[in-house]
């Protein structure tokens, strides 16, 4: 009985729980970071009253959101109105499940801690543990599938609220996601062709090592530099961030698709947006920036490199938001279809040519 509870399973569950909470903390930290960086860029302080340096501000915000009243417009579609934020948040969390954030790690050293073996009977692990909630051999496709599910949360919120601002936000969102998903997918496809694998772990491992001894062999540096650019632009559009934040353009749509939401259902949308940012940054790190590979650190500490890279991309995200003004809607569509998509197709063709004729 209970023989299926192996030490491997317990460590794996530990990783899953850790990833789950790390995501939530990352989202809270990101809100703080966003406000602080915004303050820096706009030459003001940002939050500084709650806790040292305003560090407890996200906590205060969460408490406020939890205790607010949950409102629902009378004419809203009752089921879908509540389903929408749940869908958004679930998709955001689920997408991160297949993103590996470190090399397979052997946790057998835990047995060397005094009393661990005598208390629990733990002597070592039969195989290293994957540092990901799930190790799927079609990982990239799963990420792509789940992120494309996330749009339903936004669209349904827009429709179910039965308000014209929400509806317009939802419509804009679905049009934008369809337009940019193509370039996003083609950037993925170029990397898949280079690596010859759909497993993110294998793709990361192919980026180990250096060109000429000092330039990291990351796909984002060479040969997929343009793929990386296309991925980042499409990724910003997919997560509805400035300068592509049309679904919630304040000046035109109040708050877009979540205009009618309050309290925790609003918080779920907010959470989903920030977790999606983290996922896009994490996938960019894995596919284009060598994941957990980096100098100075041994491989089992590679997750530190991973977090540093993700942090830098997220900083870049926020920097973009407070620097660039929003596009016009027709410019967004024109850019997506007439520039980004052809660029992605050309990138894919050139990559395919290199793979076939130079055997990369």
């Amino acid at each position: 009985m209970l023989s299926f509870i192996t030490p491997e399973l317990i460590f794996h569950l530990g990783i899953i729980v850790a990833a789950f909470f790390a995501l939530q903390i990352a989202a809270a930290g990101l809100v703080y970071m966003e406000r602080k960086v915004a303050g820096l860029i706009q030459q003001r302080y940002g939050p500084y009253l709650v806790g040292p340096l305003g560090l407890l501000q996200p906590l205060a915000d969460i408490v406020k959101l939890v205790f607010k009243e949950e409102l629902r417009p009378k004419a809203a579609d009752k089921i879908l109105f509540y389903l929408a934020p749940i869908l958004s948040a679930t998709a955001a969390f689920a997408a991160f499940a297949v993103v590996p954030f470190g090399a397979d790690t052997d946790f057998s050293w835990v047995a060397k801690i005094p009393f661990v073996t005598s208390l629990t009977g733990f002597t070592g692990l039969s195989h290293p543990i994957h540092l990901a909630a799930a190790d799927v051999n079609v990982g990239i496709l799963v990420i792509f599938a789940i992120t494309s599910m996330g749009v339903y949360g936004v669209v349904l919120a827009g429709w179910a609220s039965n308000s014209k601002y929400s509806l317009l936000g939802g419509l804009r969102s679905s049009a934008q996601m369809i337009s940019y998903e193509l370039a996003y997918g083609l950037a993925f496809a170029s990397v898949i062709m280079m690596a010859g694998s759909l497993s993110i772990r294998e793709i990361v491992d192919q980026q180990a090592g250096y060109w000429f001894g000092f330039i990291p062999k990351w796909y984002g540096i060479f040969p997929q530099f343009f793929g990386f650019l296309i991925y980042m632009i499409a990724g910003i559009a997919e997560t509805n961030r400035a300068p592509f934040d049309f679904p919630e353009a304040e000046q035109e749509l109040v708050a877009g698709y979540h205009t009618e939401y309050s309290s925790m259902s609003f918080a779920l949308f907010f959470l989903a947006e920030y977790i999606n940012m983290v996922t896009v940054a994490a996938v960019a790190t894995d596919l284009f920036l060598g994941g957990w590979h980096g100098p100075f650190l041994p491989e089992w500490l590679g997750w530190i490199w991973f977090f540093v890279k993700v942090f830098l991309i997220l900083f870049f995200y926020i920097w973009m938001r407070w620097t660039l003004p929003r596009y016009r809607y027709d410019q967004l569509m024109e850019f997506g279809w007439k520039w980004l998509l052809p660029a992605a197709v050309i990138n894919l063709l050139v990559t395919a040519g290199f793979v076939i004729y130079l055997g990369w």
Partner: protein
């Protein structure tokens, strides 16, 4: 465990598909169809075909249904009302209904016959990993063995697209 998951996914797929037809609200129909696709994708995973499962979600649930939703929202069709008039009688009149009943009876008999003669495939156990080259194999099959069918399908889709553009285009006065 696998048998249990199979029955859950199968039940969800069938019930959701039936409800798609039964719903008056087009928005709910679209969502139920997405649920049905999700259950189908689960069945593919059980069959040891994760690639097909992911593609099913990406293409059907992720791309096509978003377009459906977009159109439903754009037209803001509240609910389907029974249509009246000549065209409605042409589709929903007494004669077509009887024909429909006969056809559906034929389909039911055919299904019954097909299921009786079906040879049950062994259920793939989830423990065994599908071969790493599954995607490679699918690619080879598509572009070598079934190249004609593949190209013919893509031409068909192109024709449909051109047709849609011509139908939707307004003549300039």
């Amino acid at each position: 465990m696998h048998a249990l998951l199979f029955w859950i996914f199968a039940a969800v797929a069938i019930v959701a598909s039936l409800l798609v037809v039964g719903q008056r609200n087009p928005m709910h129909s679209v969502l139920l169809l997405i649920g049905s696709f999700g259950a189908l994708s689960g069945l593919y995973v059980l069959l040891g075909a994760p690639f097909v499962a992911a593609i099913q979600i990406i293409i059907y649930a992720g791309a096509i249904m978003v377009l459906f939703l977009f159109v439903v929202m754009l037209l803001n069709a509240a609910s389907e009302d029974p249509v009246t008039g000549y065209h409605a009688r042409l589709i929903g009149g007494a004669g077509p209904r009887r024909l429909g009943a006969v056809l559906s009876l034929g389909l039911a008999i055919e299904l019954f016959w097909a299921l009786r003669n079906l040879q049950t495939a062994p259920l793939a156990s989830g423990d065994q990993q599908p071969p790493a080259t599954a995607v490679y194999d699918i690619g080879l099959r598509l572009f070598q063995n079934y190249a004609f069918a593949f190209e013919a399908t893509s031409v068909l889709i192109l024709v449909a697209m051109v047709g849609a553009i011509i139908l939707a285009r307004r003549e300039r006065a």
